[in-house]
């Protein structure tokens, strides 16, 4: 007895258009299939029609949450093509913004996961703390989302000592708050039951399926671009790779929480050790690059972000190829979701921190009965909370 249950494409959990069709057998999922394309805006083609400098502002809009990762990766690649080295001070500012972005992205994700499990208070707490990070980012760059701090040859704006002190205070605040979140997520029994042993992805499977980012580090694999292929100034910063070995959704939560500690330490280090100097090489936007091709890899908050750029000596690039981390992780979701209940869909899919704007939706299909049931977001979340209450006697307590 199985149902065909399309969920989406306006999927509640991820606030992005996705298409899920689950193949169910009773209540267990037996198969799935990706169906993406709803946020495909043709950016790679658009990038071939804009100049090297105009593309800085196009490519940061691939994703609003990891915009600095995209723009910084592109700027780094363009600097390889133009064969220039940005000044040291610029690299420090660039890395500081990358790490602040990682903190804000992980806090956003923690809030979303809490909301998926029915814990709205924690959602409000994390997003409230995130505002402090957005404040300092706005003071440095002028905008809360989509900072546009990078340019080909450095960064567009400089920071002064006042801003660096504020950044240091924000980093210390984040270190304090993260201790609280770690306590909540590792001690609250109801959260533990809903995340432990759910969505298992073994070490060999994670490597075989090409998983990237915190998802693969949560399966005890030490892969992080900042460690394996260091770029910018990561080799000098107090950076450590965070891994955890329980291979389930809980593990992914722990990895991301601990990464916030590491990021806050890096921000503090940069605020204390930033060298003086220029921040921009001052390359003219009308300069033509040499004929060249280059790759640029950075560790975005969701994983490995891979750019390939090619120049044929013209003012506009010949080809820009972007491979976002969520596209790489979608295959492991299909693998992880099999054998689980419908009620486990939100934490498993949310566990890879999907940024569908980067990647573009998933469709899950079911077999047997052909009975169609459509559920929208809040319904799915309410269903999963009720299911756990009924079958496993779990209620998220609001005592935190």
């Amino acid at each position: 007895m199985s149902y065909r249950m399309p969920i989406g494409p306006i999927h509640p959990m991820l606030k992005e258009p996705i298409n899920f069709i689950f193949y169910l057998d009773g209540e267990i999922i037996v198969d799935a299939e990706p169906n993406i394309g709803y946020a495909h805006r043709g950016i790679e083609k658009l990038a071939e029609n804009k100049t090297w400098f105009q593309n800085l502002y196009l490519l940061e809009k691939i994703c609003g949450i990891c915009s600095s990762a995209h723009q910084g990766c592109y700027a780094q690649g363009a600097e390889y093509i133009f064969d220039v080295e940005p000044p040291e001070r610029a690299l420090h500012i660039r890395v500081m913004m990358w790490e602040l972005e990682r903190i804000h992205s992980h806090l956003l994700w923690l809030g979303v996961v809490a909301h998926l499990l029915g814990f709205d208070t924690l959602f409000m707490y994390t997003w409230r703390d995130r505002e402090r990070v957005l404040d300092i980012v706005e003071e440095i760059s002028g905008r809360r989302v989509g900072y546009s701090i990078n340019t080909v040859g450095g960064t567009r704006r400089d920071v002064d000592d006042n801003l660096l002190n504020k950044a240091k205070k924000v980093a210390e605040f984040i270190l304090e708050q993260t201790k609280y979140y770690e306590k909540v997520f590792t001690e609250d029994k109801s959260l533990l039951i809903r995340t432990q042993n759910i969505g298992m992805l073994s070490k060999t499977d994670a490597i075989r399926l090409g998983t990237v980012g915190p998802t693969v580090r949560a399966s005890d694999v030490k892969r992080d671009i900042r460690y394996n292929f260091p770029y910018a100034i990561y080799e000098e910063t107090p950076f450590e790779v965070v891994t955890f070995d329980s291979c389930d959704v809980f593990s992914r939560v722990v990895v991301r929480i601990r990464e916030m500690y590491v990021s806050a330490e890096i921000v503090k280090w940069i605020a204390e050790n930033i060298p003086s100097g220029k921040v921009d090489l001052g390359i003219s936007p009308f300069k033509k690059p040499p004929v060249n091709e280059a790759i640029s890899i950075v560790e975005a908050p969701r994983g490995e972000l891979y750019y390939y750029l090619k120049s044929n000596g013209d003012l506009k690039p010949e080809r820009i190829k972007v491979r976002t981390p969520t596209l790489a992780n979608i295959i492991s979701v299909i693998h992880m979701i099999k054998g689980h209940y419908i009620a486990d869909i939100p934490p498993i899919v949310g566990g890879i921190d999907p940024c569908m704007a980067c990647m573009d939706r998933v469709l899950l299909v079911d077999i047997n009965k052909e009975k169609k049931v459509v559920m929208d977001k809040e319904e799915l979340i309410r269903y999963s909370i009720k299911w756990y209450k009924k079958n496993k006697d779990i209620v998220i307590s609001e005592r935190w």
């Binding site: 606030k15 946020a39 805006r41 043709g42 658009l46 609003g64 997003w127 409230r128 809040e378």
Partner: protein, 146 residues
């Protein structure tokens, strides 16, 4: 006479608490997280009685982000048909209003007002939460005044 009364009743019912449904037609998530931010403790639109609902059938105002991409067009139409009248469409972000950065792309079906009547535009890439709250507030005022 009855029509005028019904109209007045509708408008009175809408004034006090607007239930908003958020729809993403393929945006980069920048505007979406700013819309969600409006509901968090810093900005808190819930004090105006605005609530975010999970189903289009409960909504009064539909907040749309993103340029409509080829694949999402059909689905958007279907969702908007499910929203009961009276409904208002608020477009958040430059790409919904004009196509924004993505003008000319092969997969964009164009600004939303080519297909549906829009009540309010909020420009910005992404639009700030204060601007979004301002737009909804202006919409409420317009409703009050008729």
């Amino acid at each position: 006479m009855l029509e005028k009364l019904k109209d007045k009743l509708k408008r009175w019912a809408l004034r006090k608490s607007i239930w908003a449904y958020h729809l993403n037609t393929g945006s980069c998530n920048g505007c979406d997280i700013e819309i969600l931010d409006a509901f968090t403790p810093r900005y808190d639109v819930e004090r105006f009685g605005i609530k975010l609902v999970g189903s289009p059938r409960h909504a009064d105002v539909v907040v749309v982000t993103g340029p409509i991409t080829a694949k999402s067009y059909e689905r958007v139409r279907r969702v908007l048909e499910q929203v009961p009248d009276p409904k208002f469409l608020v477009v958040v972000g430059s790409c919904g209003a004009t196509g924004g950065l993505f003008q000319g792309s092969y997969n964009i079906k164009g600004p939303i007002d080519k297909y549906l009547p829009v009540s309010a535009y909020v420009f910005g890439c992404p639009a700030k939460p204060e601007a979004i709250i301002d737009a909804i507030y202006k919409l409420i005022k317009k409703l009050e005044e008729g």
